[in-house]
Amino acid sequence: MDDRVIIRFNHVTKQYDNDLPVLDDVSFEMERGKFYTLLGPSGCGKTTILRLIAGFIEPTKGDIYFHGKRMNNVPANKRQVNTVFQDYALFPHLNVFENVAFGLRIKKIGKEDIERKVKEALRFVNLEGYEQRAIHEMSGGQRQRVAIARAIVNEPDVLLLDEPLSALDLKLRTEMQYELRELQRRLGITFIFVTHDQEEALAMSDEIFVLNKGKIEQRGTPKDIYDEPVNRFVADFIGESNIITGTMIDDFVVEFANQQFACIDRGFAKNERVDIVIRPEDLELTTVERGKLRVRVDSVLFRGVHYELCCYDTYGNEWLVHSTKKADIGEEIGLHFEPEAIHVMKRSGGE
C-alpha cells in the first residue's frame, strides 16, 4: 500500500435510525501533507465525514483506516487527530494558556514542556503575549487562532477544520484563508477543511471533494473542478454559471439555443442530450453582428470590478455575463465566446 496515504474510507455508510443515510457508501483516500476541502451544501455529509475521522461517531457500515490500520472503534481521545470547531468550542472557564495546554495536561506532560509548547503554538498563530487573557476578552479572529493553537499544540497527523471561518467577517475571512494555507505549508500535516463556501475552497485547497446528498460528486484540484465540472450540480455549486441543455451533434459539434457551435468535447453518442456550462466571465460583450449569440439585456448590476448583466436570448434562456463594459437595459447585444469556453457534461439523473 502507498505509504503516503494517511486516511482511507472503504465503502463507509452512516445512517441514523431508519432515515436516509447521511453518508452513502463513500470510498476515498487522503494523502499526507495535503490541504483537502470537503465542499457542499448543508446536509451533504461533509461534517459527517469530519466527525467520523475525529471519532465522535462510528460508521454504520464500511471501514476507516489511518496509516493502514482500521480505526472504526477507536474513541476520539485516542486518535492522533485534532479538530478546530465551527464555534471554536473554547473553554470559557479557562484562559488562553490553559485552553491551549488542555490536551497536554491530559497527557500529563511535564510543566516546562507544556510551557514551551504552548508558547510555541501561540507564536505560530501570532498570539504571543495573550497567554493570560480570558476567552471572552478575545475577538472572533483571536478566538479562531486560539482554537487552532489548541489543536496543533498536540502535534496531530491530521487537523480537521469544521467551517472555522464562517463566523468571521469578510475581510478577516480572506486574511485567515491566507494564514491557514501558510500554516498548513509550515506544519506539513494534512488539513481537512469543511466549508460550504466555494470561493474559500478554490482559494485554499490542494484537492476538493464536492459532496451532495451523502455522496462524492467530484474530487479534483480546484482548477479541474472549476474548469471541468462533471455535472450540473458541481457546475452550479462551484461559481456562477450559465447551464442550459443542448444536444451533442457529433464530436466537437454541439447544438444549443437552436444553433450549432464548435467545441472541444468528444466521446458522446450522436445526438445525446447534454448539459452545457459557460462561465459568465467567458462571455464577451460585442455587437449583434459579431456575436455568436444574440441577447437582450434585462438588468445590469455594478459589482465593483465588473458589471453583471442578466440577458435573455430569443428562446428564453438566461445568460449571465461578467463584463468590464457596460450595456443599457433593453439593448440588443451580441455575445462572443471561444470553443474552449463551452463545457459539455453528461446529464445528471435528477431534476
Partner: protein, 259 residues
C-alpha cells in the same frame, strides 16, 4: 404615573409591614404586640439564655447545611444524568424529578412519614435530614440543568478530541462550567430547608425540632415577644445570606460568563 407609584408603594408597604411590625415590638418592654411601653433588649437576652432554643437553631443549621450539600451533590449528578439521557427518557426523568416540586407539602410529609415508619427509621434527626435532602434534590437539578443545556455540546467534543476521557470531561469541563448553577442550587436548597415547616412537621419526632416547628408551637400558645426577637435575628441573618449569595453569583458570572 402617579397612580403606579402609589400602587407600588402600597404593595411594598404591605409586604414589609408585618416584618417591621415584628421587629418593632421585639424592643417592647410591654409584652404585647399592640402597646409599646418602652425600649428594652430583654427579649433578646431571653433568646440567648434559652439553651433549648439555641440547640434548635443549631439543629436547624446543621440540617440545612448537611441536606443542601448532599442534595447538591446528588442533584448535580442527577442533572448530568438527565442531560445525557436519550430524548424519550429525558422527558420521563424530568417529570419524575418535578413530582416533589409540584406536590403539596402535606402529601410529601404524609408519604415520607409512611415511608420512614415502614423502613423502621426512627423519627428525628435522620428522618428530617433525609426528607430535606429528598425535597431539595429536584430544586438543585432544576437550577443546574439550564446551565448544562446552555453549554455548547462541541465543548465536550473538543475535550474528547484533545484526549480527555469521561472523568477528565466531567472534572475539567462540565463541573467548572456549571459552577454558577451549582451555587444557585445549593443556596436554593439551603433556603428551602431553612424555610420548610410542613414536611418537617410530619416527619419530626418528639425529641427533635427545627425552628419552624418550634415557632409554630410557640405561636399556637399565643404571643411571646421572644419570638419577635428571634425573628429579628433571623431576618438579619437572611439579609447577610442574601448579600453573600449576591456577591458569590456576581463574582461567578463575572468569571464564567462571557456574553
Amino acid at each position: 404615573m402617579k397612580f403606579s407609584r402609589l400602587y407600588l408603594t402600597f404593595i411594598f408597604f404591605v409586604l414589609y409591614m408585618p416584618i417591621f411590625y415584628l421587629i418593632y415590638y421585639s424592643f417592647n418592654s410591654g409584652g404585647t404586640m399592640h402597646h409599646f411601653e418602652s425600649f428594652t433588649l430583654d427579649w433578646y437576652k431571653e433568646v440567648f439564655a434559652d439553651t433549648r432554643l439555641l440547640i434548635i437553631v443549631l439543629h436547624t443549621m446543621i440540617i440545612a447545611l448537611l441536606s443542601s450539600s448532599l442534595a447538591t451533590i446528588i442533584g448535580v449528578f442527577g442533572a448530568i444524568t438527565i442531560y445525557y439521557a436519550k430524548h424519550r427518557w429525558k422527558q420521563t426523568l424530568l417529570t419524575l424529578n418535578n413530582v416533589l416540586i409540584v406536590s403539596p407539602d402535606v402529601i410529601i410529609g404524609a408519604s415520607f412519614l409512611i415511608l420512614f415508619t415502614i423502613a423502621g427509621i426512627q423519627l428525628g434527626f435522620t428522618s428530617v435530614l433525609l426528607s430535606h435532602i429528598a425535597f431539595s434534590i429536584p430544586i438543585v437539578v432544576l437550577m443546574v440543568l439550564p446551565k448544562l443545556q446552555e453549554m455548547s455540546p462541541t465543548l465536550i467534543d473538543a475535550a474528547r478530541d484533545l484526549g480527555a476521557n469521561e472523568w477528565n470531561i466531567l472534572t475539567k469541563v462540565i463541573l467548572p462550567y456549571i459552577t454558577p448553577g451549582i451555587f444557585a442550587g445549593f443556596f436554593m436548597a439551603l433556603t428551602y430547608s431553612l424555610d420548610d415547616f410542613a414536611v418537617t412537621f410530619f416527619v419530626t419526632g418528639n425529641g427533635f425540632s427545627t425552628l419552624s416547628v418550634e415557632i409554630y408551637s410557640r405561636a399556637r400558645q399565643g404571643i411571646s415577644l421572644s419570638v419577635n426577637a428571634l425573628s429579628t435575628l433571623l431576618f438579619l441573618f437572611t439579609l447577610v445570606l442574601v448579600v453573600v449569595y449576591y456577591v458569590i453569583t456576581q463574582r461567578a458570572s463575572a468569571k464564567g460568563g462571557q456574553k
